[in-house]
Amino acid sequence: GGTGKQADQPTPDEGDKPAAPAEKRTYAIIYPVIHQFFDPVTTGAQAYAEKLGNIELFIHAPEGGQVQQQIEIVENLISMQVDGIAIGSTDPEALAPYIDQAIEAGIQVVTFDSDTPNSNRAGYIGTMNYEAGLHMADVIAKHIGEEGKIIILQDVPTQGNLVERLQGIEDRIKEKYPKIKIADVQSGYADPAKSVEVLESMIEANPDFVSYTGIGGAGGPAGIAVWKARGWTNQDKMNISFDNTDENIDGLRDGLITALVSQRQHIWGELIIDSLNTLCDGGTIEEHNDTGTIEVTIENIDTYQDER
């Protein structure tokens, strides 16, 4: 079951929803990059907005995760005079002043996925990534019996939330699991093909590893591709990676992935709209809305989304 810290938020089915806003509102949701990970956020938000009515959603992202491009998007949204912005920053330090500009222009701003703590954003919705890293370390330790060599594949080594996750893993292993050794950390730069290639080479370099972890979006799928190509299953070597993207879930079902540490992005969409509505109505929201992480294994694969 999930061991991450859980949010104290209403689940979608509870009844006490705020009504539709009185006047029509435009909210923009800006992802750090175009990626399927965020699709549950889009679908969740769209369905919820439709249900509430009177909300227009505008979804955007810099296609390759470029900081400047995301800044431009924020600036352009200020020009568009949207009512609210929810943003997952590509670079928290960089985005802070632009978030503040939006707020000065009378736009309500919340962050999600990766926070921008130095800004005046009203609140953050999503995973605390350092904690997610700690959680990941615990999950790895549990599955490998607190002993053995592990290898790790990073995406872009500068993406803040991924760096935090990695830090969390390293810190927890140092602190609690002396017999686990991180044999290698390499980067695939979020390029699917390069990730596969680097992982293969890493495996050759560390043939005695017991478990592999993909930190970012390209990590889990790279593992699946390599396991498949080598005819491995999770009985041979373990792949314990982040996120419940379709590919990873399929990999789990196919026995190519041992466990996933999943974020709960499927509830972010609603939380974002609720928060923005509250803010637009003059209310306040919690500063940190940690939606936590859940360990997903073949046992709870069909039910984990309902867990809290």
């Binding site: 390759g64 470029q66 431009e72 928290p92 330090e93 500068t158």
Partner: protein
Amino acid sequence: MFAKISNSIKVNRSSEYFRFVIGQKELRLFVLLAAMVAIMAVLKPDTFFTSTNLFNILRQISLITIVAVAQTLVIISGGIDLSVGFNLGLCGIIISYLLDAAFNPALAFFAGISAGLLIGLANGLIITLVKLPPFIVTIGMAYIARGLAFVVTEGFTIRVTNEFVSELANGYVGPIPIMTIIMFVIVVIFSYILNHTPFGMKTKAVGGNIVAAKLSGINTVTHRLKIHVIGGILCGIAGLLMIGRLNAGNPNAGMNYDVDSIAATVVGGTSMNGGEGSILGTLLGSMILGVMRNALVLLKVSMYWQTVVAGAIIIAVCSIDYLTNKNK
């Protein structure tokens, strides 16, 4: 004597044609830009045609335009520089790192811009002395610069709090962003240098026919070195502004600036073959692309389609330019 007359008649015709085209090149781009602005002003009067938004666009294009000026100089001199983006990124990182380590800011700026200079110099030396193609040298150098940025930061972004840097990138003089003023100054300086100084003429000569340039007594090696060094310094300046704009040294900042700066240069009418081109054209090219990006967001084009539309517009703008050019 008759030969004279007949020559002058024919040449006259063909050269007048060309003078018209060249003189009109920037004008044509300007008309295109004006048309785009006009259409957007009609479609989105409230959001596009506001002074905030227009100045926003000007600020958004400032950085890329500065880099594109460097790119334009290199391309006119017969080269290409695919390392501008990560060069800029590395310079920014170095400045942020030194500021963070509480160095004297002036020293930090100096060190960062020197780094840009050195990368430009390294590019230039390998290209001119080992005689490798600029394309591959600058790709290699881009990897090196990007890697060094990773090494310095170990992947973290470095927060930048220096007031001066922040003011440079985010401040205004009246309604005009300081960064935009810096950009205009750079454009004016290099437009002047290119068109009105021996240095500019030599640059075109080196790019137009390097053998002829050499035979005219130009030291083509040092000249190309100078061009790359200037390009490197401009990247350094852009790096400084970038960290101000991002309030952080981010090793990924500058990604795509290579391709974007080339796009601005080519849309601006500079020939990829070297020997001719215009800094003013590059500014206009950069503005056209900036207005396009802004318009795509304001028109709420789906993010999935934006990339498609951007690609199509780049090709279309160049084609329009070519076709109108041909018809005249």
